[in-house]
């Protein structure tokens, strides 16, 4: 049984309303994949970045574009290729002529300077170029030529991955993967969704996505809602649950654990996991759960909220070993097992 909230705080109601409206607008362009869209928006209001994985043609780029239009925020797209350079992302210093005819170096901002950034097929660029995004994603700033340039919030980076074309790609390093709050998978549409896609995208007219915010207020409103998310109360028991969950993703043999075993041990983790989640995983769990709680009209985080978020927050943070690949084990299975173990240990 779920108890519905009988009392509404204006900020909470605003977040729920905004969230649903953006969701509706995005679904004008994206048919199906409701869960993926919701996770994308949760990451936006939680202040994180998202890695989108899906086979070609499932609407990865369309989704990100639709989101940019719905939020009415500045939007840039970078097509990652093998010859892309870091300066192509961050920007560079160029010689410009001044009004007085003098020539001087001036910083030309790259596409990273925007509110919503889409890095398409990020694994096609070299690690050096991929790393150009790190500072921007983590610290909302770019340093070029010894000068640091801040990025105006809200900043929301999304990168797409193509899981089937691996030739000529550079898998993202763990450090970069960890900076993405969620990894969202776009599933192949089923028959009815495919039919709707065909009918809505091949006709003479299609639904135009209406911006939810006006251009002036968009950034401020989104930032205010992100601050509200941070106000959601988390009980110590929930924090402890998250801490146990994240620790339980680490195999007991991990050298960096210093031989300190957590209270919850899972055989599957010991057998199939090379490295578990980092503390950033715990932060992602809590922040994502806070948004879920607000969407449910609650000012507190429950364990159910954490469990709802766990798959998308931890999947890309768990590095599986060769045994897992040979046995066909996926990170999602491991996470479900870990959740069950931690729940059982909690009693």
């Amino acid at each position: 049984m779920s108890a519905a909230a009988a009392f509404e705080l204006p900020g909470v109601a605003d977040l729920v309303r905004t969230f649903r409206r953006v969701q509706t607008e995005i679904h004008k362009a994206i048919i199906g994949n409701e869960r993926a869209v919701e996770e994308l928006l949760i990451a936006l209001f939680a202040g994180g970045h998202v890695l989108i994985e899906g086979v070609p043609g499932t609407g990865k780029t369309t989704l990100v574009k639709a989101m940019g239009h719905a939020l009415n925020l500045s939007f840039n797209r970078i097509q990652f290729t093998v010859d892309l350079m870091p300066a192509d992302i961050t920007g560079t210093r160029v010689i410009v002529s001044g009004d007085d005819g003098r020539r001087e170096f001036a910083f030309q901002p790259g596409p990273v300077f925007c509110h919503i950034l889409l890095g398409d097929e990020i694994n096609r660029a070299t690690p050096k170029t991929q790393s150009a995004l790190l500072e921007a994603m983590a610290e909302l700033q770019v340093t070029v030529g010894g000068v640091t340039y801040p990025i105006r919030p809200p900043y929301f980076a999304m990168a797409t991955l193509n899981p089937i074309e691996m030739e000529g790609t550079y898998p993202l390093p763990e450090a970069q993967l960890d900076r993405f709050m969620f990894k969202v998978s776009l599933d192949y549409p089923d028959e009815s969704e495919l039919t709707r896609i065909i009918s809505t995208t091949t006709g003479a007219e299609s639904d135009a996505i209406a911006p939810v915010f006006t251009g002036d207020e968009a950034a401020a409103r989104i930032e205010a809602l992100k601050r509200l998310v941070r106000e959601v109360i988390v009980a110590p028991a929930v924090e402890q649950f998250v801490a146990r969950l994240v620790r339980a993703t680490q195999p007991s043999s991990a050298a960096f654990m210093g031989g300190r075993k957590g209270p919850v041990q899972n055989d599957a983790v010991d057998r199939y996991v090379a490295f578990g989640s980092s503390p950033r995983g715990a932060q992602a769990l809590i922040l994502g759960a806070k948004v879920v709680a607000l969407l449910d009209g609650r000012a507190n985080v429950s364990l159910d909220d954490v469990e709802r978020i766990a798959p998308c927050a931890l999947t890309h943070r768990i590095m599986l070993n060769y045994a897992a690949h040979s046995d066909g084990i996926e990170a999602n299975h491991i996470i479900q097992g870990v959740i069950k173990s931690v729940r059982a240990a909690r009693g």
């Binding site: 108890a3 988390v234 028991a237 009209g297 000012a299």
Partner: protein, 443 residues
């Protein structure tokens, strides 16, 4: 118009009131949960005690002392472990305020609201901008976490276990009562025995069998009994191991406990009065005071009496050879019994002739050819009242289907119109039928 600080103070006090209402309700939930935990511990403990007691009582009636002792020890240990576990389980079920909130959240679908309120409440700095919202939201759902909704039961389910065990105890108590009545009835059937101490034979017997005998007699008879038992005890002491003595003590202890539980202690004791017919004591100062023989003697005497049942003692036991054990009274057995016993008593008679010679009357009788022919002897006085307890069990029994069928008796009156039997007049048989009639008779 109130100032901003007054408004804030008012909001804070209202918030505290709401918090108080929520916390009071959680306290009520906790009280209810703890009451159930206490009931569970109590009922489980009582169930264990009642159930174990019933089984031990049943074992006291059904088992032999050593087996009873083993069962009682095992059950006692199990009871201790069970009690500790029941108390631990009960104490683990005890709910703190936080635990009560967690349980209420889980059972009413409040999704962690109560847990959050209870855990954040003491820490004022942990309350954020959404704290009033959380309080208001939780308070609006107060009907959801009413104690009766969180825990509908007032009485723990473990009471069913207690009832079941109580039923078992009642059945066992009924059984025990019936057994006692049967013992009281059998006590009345036991007659006092009088026996010449010279005819007392000490032999080893199964110590688990039978009940004790209360022996009384004149001083000289008791002295002789003591001597016999001492001799038997010495002989036994040489052959007995420490383990055997320990077993004997354990057996005695178990027997005492069993007696106390079953009420056997005085109910079924035989009273054996010893006399000394050697003539040195005419009985004028015969003390009638009951005398308890040395340790083990009492039981042995009695067991001898019991095992005197047909087939009860093998020849090796009867031979005695100084081996300790029970005392066998056998002066006035029926002839066939005596004959059977004397077959095995012959070697013993040679070894203990000095003591047996005084009694004389029973020695050599039965199958001894010298006594088969000659003048009939007068049986000693007092032998008319001698009774031998015979404990008989069916040795073999055929299958039920083979058992003979006894038809019920039927009393039926004769038919008043029935004519007396008369020969049937010969009549002519048709030619066609003759062959058939002849064939019938031939068959």
């Amino acid at each position: 118009m109130p100032s901003a600080s007054q408004v804030r103070r008012g909001q804070v006090s209202r918030g505290d009131e709401k918090l108080g209402v929520i916390l009071r309700r959680v306290v009520q939930v906790r009280t209810r949960l703890n009451r159930l935990a206490l009931q569970q511990g109590l009922f489980e403990s009582l169930s264990l005690i009642v159930g174990t007691g019933a089984i031990v009582l049943l074992a006291a009636f059904l088992l032999q002392p050593l087996k009873f002792l083993c069962v009682a020890i095992v059950l006692g240990a199990a009871l201790m472990v069970g009690l500790v576990r029941a108390i631990r389980r009960s104490s683990r079920m005890r709910a703190t305020l936080e635990r009560a909130a967690i349980i209420a959240d889980q059972r009413t679908g409040l999704k962690g609201r109560l847990t959050t309120v209870v855990s954040i409440a003491p820490n004022a700095s942990g309350r954020g901008q959404l704290w009033p919202y959380l309080l208001e939201d939780t308070l609006s759902l107060r009907d959801e976490f009413a104690p009766a909704k969180v825990e509908p039961r007032r009485i723990s389910r473990s009471i069913y276990g207690l009832l079941a065990y109580s039923l078992l105890a009642i059945l066992v108590a009924g059984f025990a009562l019936m057994e006692r009545r049967a013992q009281i009835a059998s006590k009345a059937a036991h007659a006092d025995l009088e026996l010449d101490v010279n005819n007392l034979d000490v032999r080893p017997l199964d110590p688990d069998l039978g009940t004790a005998v209360e022996i009384s007699g004149d001083p000289s008879a008791m002295r002789k009994l003591d001597q016999k038992l001492a001799r038997a005890g010495n002989a036994q002491g040489e052959s007995d191991s420490a383990l055997g003595r320990l077993m004997g003590r354990a057996r005695d202890l178990a027997g005492d406990i069993q007696d106390k539980m079953t009420g056997h202690e005085s109910g079924s004791r035989l009273r054996l009065r010893l006399t000394d017919s050697s003539g040195r004591n005419s009985g004028d100062d015969a003390a009638d005071s009951p005398h308890t023989p040395p340790e083990g003697g009492e039981a042995r005497s009695d067991r001898a009496g019991n095992n005197h049942a047909p087939g009860g003692s093998p020849p090796s036991q009867t031979a005695g050879n100084g081996s300790p054990g029970g005392a066998v009274p056998n002066p006035d057995q029926p002839a066939q019994d005596r004959a059977a016993n004397n077959l095995s008593d012959e070697p013993q008679a040679q070894g203990e002739g000095d003591e047996r010679g005084a009694g004389g009357s029973s020695h050599g009788s039965g199958s001894d050819p010298e006594h088969l022919f000659g003048q009939a002897e007068e049986p000693p006085l007092g032998s008319e009242g001698f009774e031998i307890m015979v404990e008989a069990r069916p040795a073999e029994r055929g299958p039920r289907s083979v058992q003979s069928y006894l038809p019920p008796r039927v009393r039926a009156s004769l038919n008043p119109r029935q004519l007396p039997d008369q020969p049937i007049a010969r009549s002519a048989v048709p030619d066609d039928d003759r062959a058939e009639v002849k064939r019938m008779f031939d068959r």
